[in-house]
Each structure stands twice: as structure tokens, then as C-alpha cells.
């Protein structure tokens, strides 16, 4: 039975005029897409009824395969079948452990990682985009048309470079991202809204390649992340590798070919999964040269092999608790997320650490996608009645290099986003005309121990004595957790700014070229798609303006109203034509015309939040 919200006069929505919104969990091992249907979040399955898409892409002889089809070739076509690309997102070749270098044919070079395949050199961003395309197609088929908005999840502990890489992958795949959402937070939404929970919860999220711990407080519909910590290079994959290393030692295996190594790894993973239910699992591998490996792995041995890995998850847990100024006993419940939390040794460790059995009533594989779908549904505006709110944080401190190779922190970790922070710096030489800025992320004091995000320069500082210039560096982190940095000399107003495009990411030009290339290969026509995208954007703007006018026209003076009406009419007229540039210009004009109106509405919102509060605030102390 449908539930209705009260609309403004003559604005009742048409039935089924819901916007198509999805949540996407782009995982290391598996990916999923979910949507909210009749008020309930559901995972969208393929024709065979399978909810997961293995995060594997095969650049085959004739076509690019994604998911189970690609996974089937992981062992026999190892160099052209890319798995766990998420672990390489936002990384350079120097970040890849030497042991993993043999997995693919990495292309030497600076900047973003590239792997040689049949279809040319591929970045992890392009590989991820293939997975996202598959999910997008599944969603469009299921929802009956182009998506209006998608929330894509990222590990909470992803740094800026990794987040930007994820967003770029979505752009390449034509997925309209309305928000990047932290995975544990997504899980908390799915869990919390379902259970009407109140209190402080921990979300322990061990995925295929990443580990996150988030501490959240749920109070009357507000999900407030108090602290998050983790390890973006620790996951279920590492447990597989522990089994592989053990098998190599046990049977004194010689160096394996890529094909044999993949076979062994696949069997190791199966053994790991068997051990969640059984006390022992066989590990039997037939190698290409006919040799055979036959071992039995007991749960006890597996526990011993992975003891250090399990212990590694508990360090971030205690750090997160400390940052939240809490102890384990303050935690009302622990939610387990990620397939790797099915391992008994993980469940035992979590139970021992928090003194309580973890909550597992939602499928740990699906809960992130479900939470993302709920958030997407809200963000695209399907649910006016929803009044819950999410307040998330950045996981790692952001700072700038100062003298002596040290990092000056500007935004501390666990700051609630969005956040804007500024700090003043000065010149150290007489007549210094330029200042180089090096943006870093991490908790350590030395530049060499932090992740370099970007470098840029403020030029044209007028001649002044050393120490006289006042250069204000401003860090803006948006609600996606993405950073932009600007610098401005205060006395003269000379300015430089960048959206941080990380050293290990793609440039805008590269993304544009990749998009062009993908159109060249597809039946899709680039011009048609950009026109369609501009139309969607224009339509969004028209709807936004109309509903703002319906609600608050009283705030406008007649001339202001006139200007907005004019600009609005122009957009509507251009929407009927095919001239993308004219439409785009009309949208910009409408944006400009409604700027003052937007400001008045925001002001009034703030005033309303305060209305009636002042009095009790005064009395209640």
C-alpha cells in the first residue's frame, strides 16, 4: 500500500514518477547494485537470479567480459583478466608490493598504474568503469530507463586519491554519482533504519581488500560518525594469500607460472570459505605440468596462519575508539560487514574485543549496497518525508608541507564534512615571487611518511620582505570527502586554486579522451549523450526552481521574480530544441538569476532552525 506525502498545491507527483536511484557497492571481490522499491531496499539480480557481480574484468579476444564470465577465465587467462582492481585505485606502481607485481604486466611509468592487456594499457580506473557499466546496465534494465542518481560507496579509510579515482571511474561508466558514501556508514543506514536503533554502534567492515572500523552515534534520525579508522590494504584477499604461502612452504613448491599461481589462489579461497562451516578443508590443485598438490588445512592451522592479520584489525579499532573518546563498553552493538567477517576467527576476535556477540542479522555482502540505495533514494528526492540525516567524517588528516620536510595539519582526521579550514603562511625570502604548495594526507609528521596528493604553485606574489606576505591556504572538503585547495595572498589578492587532482589519478583531459574512445567503439553517439545529459541537468534545474518558487516566492522582489521567470522560460524554450550549447547557456543564466533567491532561502532555513530555540537555550543552563 502506497504512502503519500503532502505536496504543494497542484504539485502532486504522478504515480510512479519516481526518480531512478541506485546504490552501488563497488567491492574488491564482488560488486552489487541496489534500489529502493516500494519503500524497501532490494539488491538487483541478474537474469540467473545472482545478486553479486564478481569484480573481475577480462579483456578477451573478441569482447570485454565482466563478472562470472570473466572470473571463469581468471586462471587460464591471468594477464588479461584483472581482479581486485580496487586495491590499485589511486596508487602508483611504487605502492604495489613486489610479491604482487607478478600478477599482471604492469607498465613502467610515473603516475597512475597501467596494466598491459590485449586491449592496450588499462588503468584500475578503467577496469572499475567496466564493472560499473555492467551494474549500470543491470539497473537500467531493471528500473526501465536512464538513472537519475547513484550513490557509490568507498571504504571509509580511502584517501583523497582513491576517492577521486572511484568518482572518475563512475564518470567513465556514465554513472551519475550524486554522492560518494563511506561503506561502514552505508551499512549503518541499512542497519539502523531497519532496526530503529539508538545509541553508539561500531561497524566492523572487512572486505576483500580493505578494512574499516567506524564508530557512529544514532540519535533521533541523525547518523553521526564519531570516528573512523582502518587499513586500505588489508582484507580477505590477504587471508587467501596466507593460505597460498603456507601451501608453498608445506610442499616446497617451485616458482609458479601465472596460470598455476591463479589456480592455487582460487583453491585457497575455496578452502577459506569451507572453513567457515567445517573444521578442515582440502586444498587440491592440479598444475599445468600435471603435478598435483594435495593438502588438508585445519581451522586451527588457518587460525594460526592468520593470527597476525586478525590482530592487525584490532589496532585501528582501538584508535577509532580513542578518537571517539569512548571505550569498548560504550558500544551498544557491533555490526559486521563484508564477506570476510564470516571467518570464525574474526567473529571471535570482535566478540572478545567488544565483550559482546556481533550483530549479523543483515547479509554482510549486501548491507552496504542496501544502505547506499536508501541514501540515493533520499538524495534524488524520492522521499520528501524522510528526515534522517547523515554526518560523516574524513578519515585522514589533510595538510601542507612546511620547512624541513614536515607536514602542517590543516584539517584533522575525523573532522565532520563538509569542512572548510584555512591557515596563513608566509614567505621566507625577501622578494619571493612564488610559493610552492605540496598537499599531503596522513597522520605522520614527516612528508615522506604521508601520501602526496598534489603540488601547485602560487605565483605573482609582489616583492615584499621575508615574512610580510600573508598567504592564506584554504582546504575545502565537500560532502563526498573530496578536497579542493586554494591559496591567496591576502594583501594583494593574488590567487591560485586547484581541485586536487591526485598524482596517481587521471587528468580531466585523459578522462575526456577515454570517454571519446569508448564512444568510438560503442554504438552510443557522444553528441547525443552530452545533449541528453545537458537536458537532464536542465530539467533538474527547472524542477528545482519551480519548487523553490512554489514554496518561497514571497521572499522575492518583483524584479528578481521577473528575472528568474525570464531565465526559466528561456531554459524551457531551449529544452524543446536540440542546441546543447544554447541550452547549457540558458541553464547557466538561470543559475545566475536565482543565486540571490537561493541565498535568501538558505538564510531563512537557518533562521527557522533557530526559531523558538533561543528561549529554551537561554533558560536551560
Amino acid at each position: 500500500m502506497a504512502l503519500f506525502q503532502i505536496s504543494e498545491p497542484d504539485q502532486s507527483p504522478l504515480p510512479h514518477a519516481k526518480r531512478r536511484a541506485v546504490g552501488i557497492d563497488l567491492g574488491t571481490t564482488n560488486s552489487l547494485v541496489a534500489t529502493v522499491r516500494d519503500g524497501v531496499a532490494v539488491v538487483l539480480c541478474d537474469d540467473a537470479g545472482r545478486p553479486l557481480v564478481p569484480s573481475v574484468v577480462r579483456y578477451g579476444e573478441h569482447a570485454t567480459e565482466v563478472g562470472y564470465d570473466a572470473l571463469a577465465h581468471a586462471a587460464d587467462d591471468p594477464h588479461d583478466t584483472i581482479a581486485s582492481a580496487k586495491r590499485l585505485m589511486g596508487r602508483g606502481l611504487a605502492d604495489v608490493a613486489s610479491g604482487q607485481r607478478r600478477a599482471y604486466r604492469f607498465v613502467d611509468g610515473e603516475g597512475v598504474i597501467r596494466m598491459a592487456t590485449r586491449s592496450g594499457a588499462k588503468t584500475p580506473i578503467e577496469v572499475s568503469a567496466e564493472i560499473l557499466k555492467t551494474l549500470r546496465a543491470r539497473a537500467e534494465a531493471s528500473l526501465g530507463g536512464a538513472l537519475d542518481g547513484a550513490v557509490v560507496t568507498v571504504p571509509a579509510y580511502f584517501d583523497d586519491a582513491q576517492r577521486q579515482a572511484t568518482k572518475d571511474a563512475a564518470t567513465l561508466a556514465g554513472v551519475p554519482v550524486v554522492r560518494l558514501l563511506n561503506e561502514p556508514t552505508a551499512a549503518a543506514i541499512a542497519y539502523g533504519l531497519d532496526n530503529a536503533a539508538e545509541g553508539t554502534y561500531a561497524v566492523f567492515d572487512l572486505g576483500g581488500g580493505t578494512f574499516d572500523i567506524s564508530i557512529l552515534r544514532l540519535t533521533r534520525g541523525v547518523f553521526e560518525v564519531l570516528a573512523t579508522n582502518g587499513d586500505s590494504a588489508l582484507g580477505g584477499d590477504d587471508f587467501d594469500h596466507a593460505i597460498v604461502d603456507w601451501a608453498r612452504d608445506e610442499s616446497r613448491l617451485p616458482a609458479l607460472s601465472a596460470v598455476d599461481a591463479r589456480r592455487l589462489l582460487a583453491r585457497a579461497r575455496e578452502a577459506k570459505e569451507l572453513l567457515t562451516q567445517h573444521d578442515a578443508a582440502p586444498l587440491i590443485v592440479s598444475f599445468a605440468d600435471g603435478a598435483r598438490l594435495e593438502l588438508t588445512l585445519s581451522r586451527e592451522t588457518f587460525g594460526r596462519l592468520t593470527h597476525a592479520l586478525v590482530a592487525k584489525t584490532l589496532v585501528p579499532v582501538s584508535r577509532a575508539l580513542r578518537d571517539a573518546k569512548l571505550t569498548a563498553s560504550d558500544i551498544k552493538g557491533v555490526v559486521l560487514v563484508g564477506g570476510a567477517t564470516r571467518m570464525p576467527q574474526i567473529r571471535h576476535a570482535v566478540a572478545a574485543c567488544f565483550g559482546q556477540a556481533p550483530l549479523t542479522n543483515l547479509d554482510p555482502d549486501e548491507v552496504v549496497a542496501l544502505g547506499a540505495a536508501i541514501q540515493a533514494n533520499k538524495l534524488v528526492g524520492n522521499r520528501d518525508g524522510d528526515d534522517w540525516l547523515l554526518l560523516d567524517v574524513i578519515p585522514l588528516s589533510l595538510g601542507i608541507e612546511t620547512m624541513g620536510g614536515l607536514v602542517e595539519k590543516i584539517v584533522p582526521r575525523n573532522s565532520t564534512i563538509p569542512v572548510v579550514r584555512a591557515q596563513d603562511f608566509t614567505t621566507f625570502k625577501d622578494g619571493q615571487a612564488a610559493m610552492a604548495l605540496h598537499v599531503l594526507q596522513g597522520e605522520r609528521e614527516k612528508v615522506s611518511d604521508c601520501r602526496s596528493l598534489a603540488r601547485f604553485e602560487l605565483r605573482g606574489i609582489p616583492p615584499m620582505t621575508a615574512g610580510a606576505a600573508r598567504i592564506r591556504v584554504s582546504f575545502d572538503v565537500d560532502a563526498d570527502g573530496l578536497l579542493s585547495v586554494s591559496a591567496r595572498e591576502q594583501t594583494t589578492g593574488v590567487e591560485a586554486s586547484i581541485a586536487v587532482k591526485p598524482s596517481y589519478g587521471l587528468t580531466d583531459a585523459e578522462i575526456a579522451r577515454m570517454l571519446q574512445d569508448s564512444f568510438a567503439h560503442a554504438t552510443d553517439d557522444a553528441a547525443a549523450r552530452t545533449l541528453a545529459e545537458t537536458r537532464v541537468e536542465a530539467q533538474r534545474m527547472v524542477t528545482a526552481t519551480e519548487s523553490a518558487l512554489a514554496a518561497d516566492a514571497a521572499l522575492l522582489a518583483p524584479q528578481e521574480r521577473n528575472a528568474i521567470d525570464h531565465a526559466l522560460a528561456e531554459v524551457q524554450r531551449r529544452l524543446e530544441g536540440d542546441d546543447r550549447d544554447a541550452l547549457s547557456a540558458a541553464v547557466s543564466a538561470l543559475n545566475a538569476a536565482s543565486e540571490g533567491f537561493a541565498a535568501k532561502r538558505m538564510d531563512r532555513s537557518v533562521a527557522q532552525a533557530l526559531a523558538g530555540k533561543r528561549v529554551d537555550a537561554f533558560d536551560s543552563r
Binding site: A2, F4, S7, S12, G39
Partner: protein
Amino acid sequence: MAITMTESAARHVAANLRKRGKGIGLRLGVRTSGCSGLAYKLEYADEVRPEDAQFESHGVRIVVDPKSLPYLEGTQLDFSREGLNEGFKFNNPNVRDSCGCGESFNV
């Protein structure tokens, strides 16, 4: 027959009206559309039109245009919470069948 609402629905309507800062009550109506023929309208009312039928329930004014009235006679508006969702529900005795989600219906 009157059009009514439950006490909980009335409370929510009144609270919404207060939050909105204007409006004299609630306008209910139907229009043709959707997969099963008719669809509900649930809107704030800023004015009463001369032809409107008026009802009052738990202190909240309900206005209905004459064309919609026959499809809504005896309807009781309720407010309910279902899982993640909360909102208003039409308990309409005239409905013969509705589409799967209940957003549109037939009489």
C-alpha cells in the same frame, strides 16, 4: 458520506501546516493517470474554491473538488509507518482494485 482522517493523520497534517507557515488545510482529490486509471492528490490548501466540498476532522479542514468527491466518499486518511517509510494512507471504500503499489486505482 464524509471524508475523515484518523487522529494521528490530523496531528501530522497540523504539524506540517505549522512547519510550512501557511495554508488553511488539506486538499484531497483524484485525477486520471497511472497504470490503473486514477491517482490521488494530496496537497496543502491555500484557499477554498466556491465549488469545493468541505469537511473537518480532528480540527483539520479538508477540501475536495466536486469532480473528485464521488471517488473519495467515505475515505479515511491515515498516517502510518512501514519499515523505513512513513506517510499518509488512503483507506478508500470505493476502490475495486489498485496497482501493485497502490499509487493508482480503479473504482
